[in-house]
């Protein structure tokens, strides 16, 4: 066990994965000599050489497309996109290629690859270095969407992703890159993809969240002594329906917290799943505490990202019922 932050945990996962499996190869802008703008790939170039840690020209669709082609010919590429905000330039490659090749080829061709990218606000990045665009991927059948909320999960989910035979969008909450330190095993381990994690137990209500918002939620409830289940989804597609239903059945009161804009944010799907399948258990409205339906502001980012006040407003509303 070593104490690590998320950057170190991801770096170690990459390093261990690449050491073991020579079919793993990395591509991205500034990931080599520079070690990545967030230093996540630091040291990998010198360990694995420029054939496996590839500094690429500035063209997201090209490097994702190349990754797909590598995957089709037997490799397991890991592509880094510098900021999730810039991924839209490659959306056709993601939606129409990466996600649909297994299907359209009748299962003849498969795309075992990982697309890593930092997302979310909190670093004073304004409109284009703060977005939480997970919905665009979660709506896309064929993709698997994962996001860790702590160093342990980051390493374990990434090691799991490296063994998966379908394309994975691995969303890294950049705000948490260095804020949480945790004991992380030096050895290899996997955290199962598709399984949520009940990170706090309580009887009064359920808070369902993921990624960057998990520490915020945990802080808010511990500070305010809220007796809540807190479910960290970890995988956004496919979602762990059983874990969601279990906590709903237990508490009957649900708050969903995420940073992405509300309209068709991931919370909409969680809410709809509950309203479709567990409505009889509900003792109140399903509340969403989310980023507003606007672009992400620079100076006022603390107003954008849900914080204690808004979480507690929702908690109070539900607690008051009955």
């Amino acid at each position: 066990m070593t104490t690590m932050n998320m950057v170190q945990a991801i770096n170690q996962a990459l390093s261990q994965g690449m050491a073991k499996d020579t079919s793993i190869i990395m591509l991205g802008e500034d990931i080599g000599t520079d070690g990545g703008v967030f230093r996540v790939t630091d040291g990998l170039l010198s360990k694995f050489g420029p054939e496996r840690v590839i500094d690429t020209p500035l063209v997201e669709l090209g490097i994702i497309g190349m990754g797909i082609g590598m995957a089709l010919n037997g490799l397991r590429p890991i592509v880094e996109i510098q900021f999730q905000d810039f991924i839209y330039t490659a959306m056709d490659q993601i939606i129409n290629q990466m996600a649909k090749i297994r299907y359209r080829s009748g299962g003849e061709y498969t795309v075992p690859m990982i697309l890593r990218t930092p997302y979310g606000g909190g670093i004073k990045g304004g409109l284009y270095h703060s977005q939480s665009g997970e919905s665009y991927f979660v709506h896309t059948a064929g993709l698997t969407v994962v996001t860790p909320s702590n160093p342990y999960d980051a390493k374990g989910l990434l090691m799991g992703a490296m063994k998966t035979d379908d394309p994975i969008i691995f969303l890294e909450p950049k705000r948490l890159y260095r804020t949480i330190k945790q004991e992380v095993p030096e050895e290899e381990y996997t955290v199962p993809i598709g399984k949520a994690n009940l990170v706090h137990e309580g009887d009064d209500l359920s808070i369902i969240t993921y990624g960057s918002m998990v520490p915020t939620v945990l802080d808010a409830i511990s500070k305010n002594k809220v007796n809540a289940d807190v479910l960290d989804l970890r995988t956004l597609l496919p979602m762990d329906r059983d874990a969601i239903f279990k906590t709903v059945e237990k508490t009957g009161k649900v708050i969903i917290v995420h940073e992405a804009p509300r309209t068709l944010g991931v919370g909409a799907e969680i809410s709809a799943l509950i309203a479709e399948n567990r409505i009889d258990y509900l003792q109140g409205p399903i509340l969403r505490v989310t980023g507003p339906d606007s672009p992400f502001p620079y100076r006022m980012e603390d107003y954008y990202i849900p914080g204690e006040k808004r979480i507690m407003d929702a908690v109070s509303k539900l607690i008051k019922l009955r």
């Binding site: 090209g62 990754g67 590598m70 490659q93 299962g107």
Partner: protein
């Protein structure tokens, strides 16, 4: 020398035979579409010489990242016409399980990558595959095909630059048929396509795509270089789209037909003249091969048409290795 000559004779006659098969099949499918027996098709008429010339230059182990107008290329590679027809029908024998629109082939056994519709989107994949070939020290190259209209896309630009920068073993074959649906190449871009290669530090070359032999030479040379680690080439193979863009298209809205079947620029006419000039074939051979081919095509077409559609349940498999719970649930409600 004598051997090369015999080799060439066999090769070229095989090429010509593939051209006849392609053309016969093409017309068969287009006619069947008019009768409502086929849903959709993108005719290849006019592009046989360049595709088959290129196909002849490839080894079986080489990878093809093609596009929706590559039936002659598949034929030259030896893909059975049943495989092609089953895809056209989307029946239960179709490799892609009836999922893709006709003309969107994929046959892994023949290293012919599954074709997407967004034009040029196969190109970056070709570059990645080529990179992985070198990384794995495989003795292969990648051939990537696309139309001249597709050179305007993001994917073309990305692929050209990446292929050049990484110096990977890929050959880009632009099937320049002069038209992108209703858009003539002159309005697509102000320069000749092959000249675009220079913008990436890549070799670019133009070839008469109606001439199977010339195309064969040029593609062979590019492949030899790619195999030798000398990097990618862009080949601009000039031809003419003799048919409509697709069976949904009416070209009379935007152009007058410049090359008609049997006219001197029809690549089949060109090839017949060439091979006759080399004394490789004669009129009798031509006649008999055409008749024989027609019979084969008619028979295979009828056979494949009879094959039942896929089991509806298969329509929702292969989204992932394992079906998600959402899809299982949804499919449960559908079937």
């Amino acid at each position: 020398m004598a051997d090369t000559k015999t080799d060439n004779k066999t090769k070229f006659i095989k090429g010509y035979t593939a051209m006849v098969l392609s053309r016969t099949l093409d017309k068969k499918i287009v006619n069947a579409q008019r009768q409502g027996r086929v849903g959709f098709y993108t005719p290849t008429m006019g592009q046989e010489a360049l595709q088959i010339g290129a196909g002849m230059a490839l080894e079986d182990r080489d990878l093809i990242y093609g596009y929706y107008r590559d039936v002659p290329l598949m034929i030259s590679r030896g893909v059975p016409i049943e495989t092609i027809l089953n895809q056209i029908f989307g029946n239960s024998a179709d490799i892609s399980k009836g999922r893709q629109m006709p003309s969107h082939f994929g046959v892994k056994k023949f290293n012919f990558m599954s074709v997407p519709s967004p034009v040029a989107s196969n190109m970056p994949l070709a570059v990645g595959a080529a990179y992985s070939i070198r990384y794995k020290k495989e003795n292969k190259i990648v051939l990537s095909t696309f139309g001249e209209g597709s050179t305007s896309t993001p994917d073309f630009h990305a692929s050209m630059n990446l292929a050049a920068v990484f110096n990977v073993p890929v050959v880009f074959l632009c099937e320049n048929n002069g038209w992108a649906i209703s858009m003539p190449v002159e309005k697509q871009t102000k320069v000749e396509i092959w000249t675009k290669a220079a913008a990436y530090g890549m070799r670019g070359i133009k070839v008469d795509g109606n001439n199977m032999l010339e195309t064969y030479e040029v593609v062979s040379d590019a492949i030899k270089r790619a195999r030798a680690g000398e990097g990618p080439t862009l080949i601009d193979a000039i031809s003419y789209r003799m048919g409509p863009h697709s069976t949904s298209d009416d070209p009379s809205k935007y152009r007058s037909q410049e090359v008609t079947e049997g006219s001197e620029n029809d690549p089949i006419t060109v090839t017949e003249k060439l091979l006759k000039g080399m004394n490789y074939i004669d009129d009798k051979f031509i006649e008999s091969i055409k008749a024989k081919t027609q019979k084969i095509v008619d028979d295979k077409f009828d056979e494949c048409e009879k094959i039942p559609p896929p089991d509806p349940a298969t329509a929702f498999q292969d989204v992932y290795k394992n079906m998600t719970w959402m899809l299982s649930e949804e499919v449960g409600g559908i079937l």
